[in-house]
């Protein structure tokens, strides 16, 4: 893992304010997301973060990590 489990949990938690505020911010540039689209975007972001966090770092093996 690239970061500790505790840090990963916090990073995932940060997705909540990011997604909630992003909807308002995007509306300023006439991009209006529905609730469903926001939820899908949030889940997608969490998925990306999980892949990044769980992917072994370059030069390290699973057993070493």
């Amino acid at each position: 893992m690239r970061i500790s489990k505790g840090a990963l949990l916090i990073v995932i938690a940060f997705i909540a304010p990011l997604i909630v505020e992003l909807r308002t911010v995007l509306a300023w540039v006439n991009v209006e997301l529905t609730l469903l689209e926001s939820a899908v975007l949030g889940i997608g972001l969490i998925g990306v973060i999980l892949v990044w966090a769980l992917w072994p770092q370059e030069g390290t093996s699973e057993s070493a990590g």
Binding site: G6, A7, I10, A16, V20, T24, L35
Partner: protein, 591 residues
């Protein structure tokens, strides 16, 4: 031997524990009322009459904003003075006496509030902001008086400890935690003069039928004289935890003791002369006085920004001690797995957002946009509801083992709890802020009107309601997890493997702080002068225009009228004399 607080101060640990448990009881009941009103207002689940909403709101506000916070902070302050002075309280019976008085005050206040749910004529559905024209049962005001007197005596207890310590250590600087307790207590003494005057001179005699009416604007102004600085009475213990505990948990030291002292001095002198910023829309107070209040309020950003800098610098120092590197890479080295750290860090982050919405509230012109709207509710759920409450819950996971001698029931549940609070409050407060921008009012069970619909700029009002209900549900679940941990820890057996009762060392210590920072008389005098500048003329003007007991009142009971007149003249002359003395002291120090 584990060197916990309960081993060093067994008698004091019992009082601190009792204060914490009292606080948690208030949190449980207040939190329950929170989810009830959330579901009622959003329309997702209604089982009571909307008229009872105000009783629920009063119980929610009083139990959380007054009882939960203040019981917790008196426990923290007692811990702070005994630990940092390394001495027990002077007389443990006195300590139990003020705690008992606070409990009695709470019970007496709660009786008329809860009676509001029954058919009884007794009620006090006057909200946390209990100024006129809403009138509560006399028992409500009497209980509040006892509660506040209990906190005053608690302050006396902490000052007694310091005075006794000073006799034995005449040349030493005040230890930082005790310094924080003393400055906060001095601020509280000044601030509560407003609410004491409002209750004892006006609201209590009025509810007892001794006077026929009151001047509503006067009671509102006296309430906000206390009502804004009470925010700092909650916040200062949270700041204390960020300064003395967070760096320790981060693995490092406090960046600067002198900066921490400056921050608490600034809060002592600036907290009280700001209350009128809650009354920007009140007719009867001239714009100039409101402008002074706004200026003072904006100055309060300074200690908050100093705190942000000092606390983050301390965290970075801790992270680098733990092997963290890089411009931002050090963030990964912080102990995010520790609920005490994670909770405080998340609370601090939410407080930054609260600061931004607070600036909107404080700005006199832009405040008109959000005044008395749901925005304000969103704001204070970020301040007292997160910066304070989440910090208190997070440090509970450190304090519980200290005051019980038992290991925490579950660190994983604790971590989940603080993260859940952060996420829940994000949903809830965001929707409240946005609702406020649409003009949706606060303090109502029925935020809808015939022939008119609020239109959301993004999404819909229904979506905002859903977001509030979701946030409220997550917050309630978080509370359940918190209480599971409190009860689980209480049921644990004693442990010999607990962290020692220590707080953070400093990188820049008290010897780097100018001696004048410890001159509490000077800072108190300046605080009083600022209060005189901010409040004398508005109060005189309000009384001159609306009378002490309202413009319509022609027949005043002679004894009360003469007594109040005498009291008013005496107060004005005393305050003026105090101001002149303060100016003399300031002139002496500056020359």
């Amino acid at each position: 031997m584990t060197n916990t607080y309960i081993e060093s101060f067994p008698a004091e640990a019992k009082v601190v524990r009792a204060a914490f448990y009292s606080s948690f009881l208030a949190l449980a009941i207040g939190g329950l009322f929170g989810i009830i009103q959330t579901l009622h207002r959003t329309g997702y689940y209604r089982f009571m009459d909307s008229a009872d909403y105000y009783t629920v709101l009063t119980a929610h506000g009083v139990l959380l904003a007054i009882t939960f916070t203040i019981f917790f902070l008196v426990g923290v302050f007692t811990w702070a003075t005994t630990t940092s002075l390394d001495r027990p309280v002077e007389d443990i019976r006195f300590t139990w006496a003020w705690y008992g008085l606070m409990v009695l005050g709470t019970v007496l206040t709660a009786i008329p509030i809860f009676a509001g749910f029954t058919d009884s004529e007794m009620s006090a559905s006057v909200l946390f902001t209990f100024y006129a024209p809403l009138q509560g049962h006399p028992l409500f005001y009497f209980g509040l008086v006892l509660f506040v007197v209990g906190t005053w005596l608690a302050g006396v207890d902490w000052f007694r400890s310091w005075w006794a310590w000073k006799q034995e250590h005449p040349d030493e600087r005040i230890p930082l935690p005790t310094f924080m307790v003393l400055t906060t207590t001095l601020m509280w003494y000044i601030a509560t003069l407003g609410v004491a005057a409002a209750i004892l001179l006006f609201l209590l005699p009025w509810s007892l039928g001794l006077v026929e009416s009151v001047n509503p604007l006067l009671t509102r102004t006296l309430f906000w004289f206390f009502g804004h600085p009470v925010v700092y009475f909650w916040l200062m213990p949270a700041y204390m935890m960020w300064y003395v505990l967070l760096p320790k948990i981060s693995g490092g030291k406090l960046f600067s003791d002198p900066l921490a002292r400056v921050v608490f001095v600034l809060f002592l002198i600036l907290s009280v002369p700001t209350g009128i910023h809650h009354q920007y829309l009140d007719p009867g107070i001239a714009e100039g006085f409101k402008f002074i209040a706004m200026t003072n309020t904006m100055f309060l950003l300074l200690p908050s920004l100093l705190t942000a800098f000092t606390v983050v610098a301390s965290m970075e120092h801790g992270a680098r001690q733990r092997g963290g590197t890089g411009y931002l890479g050090w963030l990964k080295a912080l102990p995010w797995r520790d609920p005490v750290f994670a909770g405080m860090a998340l609370a601090g982050l939410m407080f930054a957002a609260a600061g931004f919405s607070g600036m909107i509230n404080a700005g006199m012109n832009i405040n008109y946009l959000v005044h008395n709207t749901f925005w304000v509710v969103g704001h204070f759920h970020l301040t007292v509801g997160t910066a304070v409450a989440l910090t208190f819950m997070a440090v509970t996971y450190w304090f519980l083992p200290q005051v019980t001698g038992k290991a925490l029931w579950s660190r994983s549940v604790a971590l989940g709890q603080v993260v859940l609070w952060f996420v829940g409050m994000t949903f809830m407060s965001n929707a409240m802020h946005r609702g406020g921008l649409l003009g949706i009012p606060r303090r109502t069970a029925e935020p809808q009107y015939e022939g008119f619909e609020f239109e959301a700029a993004v999404g819909s009002v229904g979506e905002l309601d859903a977001q509030i209900a979701l946030g409220g549900a997550l917050l309630t679940l978080s509370l359940v997890l918190f209480f599971a941990n409190v009860v689980g820890t209480a049921l644990n057996s004693r442990s010999d493997d607990l962290p020692a009762n220590e707080y953070a060392d400093t990188l820049s210590g008290p010897s780097d702080a100018p001696l004048v920072l410890d001159n509490l008389k000077l800072w108190t005098a300046i605080a009083i002068v600022l209060v005189i500048f901010a409040y004398s003329f508005p109060l005189l003007s309000i009384i001159e225009r609306g009378g002490l007991f309202g413009p319509e009142l022609t027949e005043l009971p002679v004894s009360i009228g003469l007594g109040l007149e005498y009291l008013w003249v005496t107060t004005v002359s005393t305050v003026t004399a105090a101001g002149e003395t303060a100016i003399t002291i300031i002139a002496g120090v500056s020359s």
